[in-house]
Symmetry: C2
Subunit: 341 residues, 2 copies
């Protein structure tokens, strides 16, 4: 029982200004269509009354009547203000907030989403999804069933990161990993590398698949281009494998793995990039201490955040035609870990 002492409504304004509630609404919304006209003096009177009372429209009623709110939902599959992967997701949120502010939108964080079967769920009893005009989905892995449902319900949304179809194409703003990895491969080939290896981590996420695809497509000119799975394999075992096969450059999906690999190499008295080049394929997802500047690329996270809001706004107001899918270029980083074989 919030001690709400009857707030000011349009009806109050109407009574004070001697007009109807409808007129107040029309004035507020600046309606000046052909079939709706308000005399200037009436308009002024209403506006003055509004100013005097400090009236502000009830966003709830507004939304119920007009089905539109200027509120953007943000669903994060990890905590929105995370401690662990904080540094990775923070830039996305930064961009989202920046554009939302510019667009005059508020952000609704669905922190109440419960974790079921080890994963946060959008659709739970009592979800507040529809309070927002649309929503942005953030997280490494997004549940396909939930995308299906969003598509089916026709609820406007945009995923941050490319997503496979889920009962229809999924609108997204992603990073062009395939191209970025391809460019790195090109760089390595140009330096004379011929025996490449790609170190997998994840096997399901789209971002992972895109990187692999880029690697495969670009490494046709190589003598050998192998895949290794780093899951549950120690850095030393991997290093053994690489050296045994005469690999000269490793493309490492997971940043932490790259750091561990470099450490293992150094422990054997070998050097990076003297004996082995190591390339990273994106920013660290967990904070990893390393004073080494890896060669690789950077994900345009902030820009992805910004553009996801931009795209969503277009979808909501109907100005966007068709399904919106954008891939932004990654930025190559020239570090110290790519040498000659």
């Amino acid at each position: 029982m919030p001690a709400t002492p009857r707030r000011v409504t349009q009806r109050d304004i109407a009574r004070l200004a001697g007009v109807s509630q409808a007129t107040v609404s029309l004035v507020l919304n600046n309606r000046a269509d052909a079939d709706v006209r308000i005399a200037p003096e009436t308009r002024d009177r209403v506006l003055r009354t509004i100013a005097e009372t400090g009236y502000a429209a009830d966003p709830v009623a507004r939304r119920l009547a007009a089905r539109f709110n200027r509120i953007i939902g943000v669903f994060t599959y990890e905590p929105a203000f995370p401690s662990g992967s904080r540094d990775f997701f923070h830039p996305f949120l930064l961009g989202i907030e920046e554009y939302a502010e510019r667009a005059g939108c508020d952000l609704l964080l669905f922190t109440s989403a419960p974790v079921i079967d080890g994963r946060r769920r959008i659709f739970h009893q009592d979800n507040r999804l529809r309070l927002a005009d649309g929503c942005i989905l953030l997280g490494r892995e997004i549940d396909a069933a939930e995308l299906h449902r969003l598509n089916r319900d026709g609820f406007p949304y945009v995923a941050v990161g490319r997503r496979d179809d889920a009962g229809g194409p999924v609108p997204y703003v992603g990073a062009d990993y395939a191209t970025a990895v391809g460019e790195l491969v090109g760089l390595a080939l140009a330096r004379g590398h011929r025996r490449l290896a790609y170190l997998n981590t994840d096997l399901t996420a789209e971002s992972s698949a895109d990187r692999r695809r880029g690697f495969v497509a670009a490494s046709t000119a190589a003598e050998s281009a192998r895949h290794l799975t780093t899951v549950a394999a120690g850095a030393d075992a991997i290093l053994d494998d690489l050296l045994a096969e005469g690999t000269t450059v490793a493309f490492v999906e997971d940043f932490a793995t790259a750091v561990a690999l470099e450490l293992a190499t150094r422990r054997r008295g070998l050097s990076v990039p003297g004996d082995l080049s190591i390339l990273t394929l994106g920013d660290p997802t967990v904070p990893v201490p390393s004073d080494l500047a890896f060669t690789g690329f950077r994900i345009p996270r902030e820009e992805m955040g910004r553009q996801s809001v931009e795209v969503l706004a277009g979808v909501i107001d109907g100005s966007a035609v068709g399904v919106q899918q954008r891939l932004l270029p990654c930025q190559l980083v020239e570090g110290d870990t790519l040498g000659t074989p």
Copy 2:
């Protein structure tokens, strides 16, 4: 025009289950009062229909009718995901999010609040404040006029950080700066310091006033306890002043100033804490590079965030009686910058 294809409503459920809309609502809300009864078989039928259709209550309509939402507004006088002072405000948000998740609440970030006269405003045309059940105010300086208005409107809110009265007492969860500074003064006195100086920054914020109060109250046993204002004064000028007066320990409000002062001291060939002890009064508000471990105290930011949501929840549901004001203890940090005079 969001292509919303008519969502499922209680009326649809009612029609399918052969009951009235009111009955559906009653079942959903688990009402079993004396004057409202639903036969078990009816209840089951309704629940089954709900499950089949995947119905979820419209939070907007719910709020409009029931005036209560499980949404907590968060108003930040700085950007919520800031880059500059990010490290300072982040822990508050972390705590807020953590408790909100536990309480099953969503968070509404008022990113749309416009900047007027160099300050963000809660109350602007079209503010979405009332969408939330209550709100949390975060920021170094909070506009007193807006607090007045919140009080007048009876809108539930809690400030993070102690606030002076503004048209009535302000509910808050703050840090007990006075006690913390007092303890530091006690520490210095125990080490034999007798000539103390307090370096001011801000003159208006409550957090600043509290620190000063703690200093004054605790330093009665000192030979001299002076105030210096660091605004617009260079570190060298301050150092001159301190040395001229034979000051042996400086209590520095602003972290960056402490760093600058230490640097200036070292540049003169003097040492900290050999020639001058420097104590800090809280965490850095902007990232300052320093490899020195200052003696001072830490603000329980995360806990403040958590408890502010807890307090707000109590205010909203009416379980809290009277105005809620909490001061949490700060944690003393034994660093390397307090020596003997």
